[in-house]
Symmetry: C2
DNA sequence: GCCTTGTAGTCAGGTTACCTTACCAAACTC
DNA sequence: GAGTTTGGTAAGGTAACCTGACTACAAGGC
């Protein structure tokens, strides 16, 4: 269940007009949050149902930029915009679940390579496939061009904001 | 700075192609998160700059459904989809900042009314105005209809997901 | 070859934003 | 007026981040 309530969560009351008005400006924030959370939850639900349990949205950062041949922690942490410590904790969790292992880097005695296990590699690929699948479902319901427009509009707004 | 890194955060390297491909499926999640965080941060930045410091995104839940004449904690917590305890903590923070006060409810000895102070009421109205302002800026850059389409598409996707 | 400086990763401890369980006191029910 | 419901608080836990301090290895200068 999403953490952010939206007006659709309320049953009709005599206060609906005022609530709707009060929430109107924040609505876009709530919508962005809900859709993101819904998408993430649905994805992990399907991944778990397919035999890859235990993974949480926050574990996504471990897989997002993970090379099949192994990646360094500092490298992944930087790409994720996270500290090495925070990232390391997620790696430890994902390792405990059996999706990655940490092996010493043969090229640098200080470093360790984070390498997906076969099971982890399958989960990684499945996750990407499921994202695509959900997007196809959206496209089937709303039209391909509207989903494409959504992505493009978000990208442009993000660029706009980053330029500030 | 947004917590979720996007490809635009990276400077060009020879690994860009692989990174872009790896991140492609998750991109929509990252975009949704970034845009939401950007919007929220920008809003609180402007609110703080206008003389209402100390407010954080999580305090939004206190103001979102707050009646100018006062509201009950349970009521607001339920509308926000939060426990009373969690909500109460945010109220305590916002009260410490001087934006609301808790007064006994004259109609129910158990209850307290959360009432915005004059300063808090100004902040509340300003916040809503700033959300509208930022949206107008987006509309100026991208076109009114694209921003409207963004909201509508998000709403439909959320409805779709909620129906599951 | 040593010595300084930089880098990879971990440890300890703190903060924020939630949660659950347990409780008190006032209010409603009968 | 006893029993149940409701408004709010207290205590304690967890997830997901952070900063500062540390160790082990690497690399460059001399």
């Amino acid at each position: 269940m999403p953490a952010i309530a939206t007006p659709t969560d309320q049953r009709p009351t005599q206060a609906d007009d005022r609530d709707a008005a009060a929430a109107a400006e924040q609505h876009l924030v709530a919508l962005l949050g809900s859709v993101k959370d819904d998408l993430l939850e649905e994805m992990y639900r399907r991944v778990a149902a397919a035999g890859y349990p235990g993974l949480r949205p926050s574990h996504g950062c471990v897989f997002r930029y993970l090379d099949v041949d192994g990646s360094r922690l500092s490298d992944l942490a930087e790409k994720s915009g996270m500290t090495k410590q925070a990232f390391g904790e997620h790696v430890a969790n994902v390792e405990a679940l059996g999706y990655v292992v940490r092996v010493p880097d043969p090229e640098d005695g200080r470093a360790k390579l984070i390498v997906p296990t076969p099971h982890g590699r399958e989960a990684l690929l499945l996750g990407r496939e499921i994202f695509a699948e959900i997007e196809r479902e959206w496209a089937a319901a709303l039209g391909v061009e509207r989903v494409a427009a959504l992505r493009e509009t978000l990208r442009e707004i993000h660029t706009l904001q980053a330029e500030r």
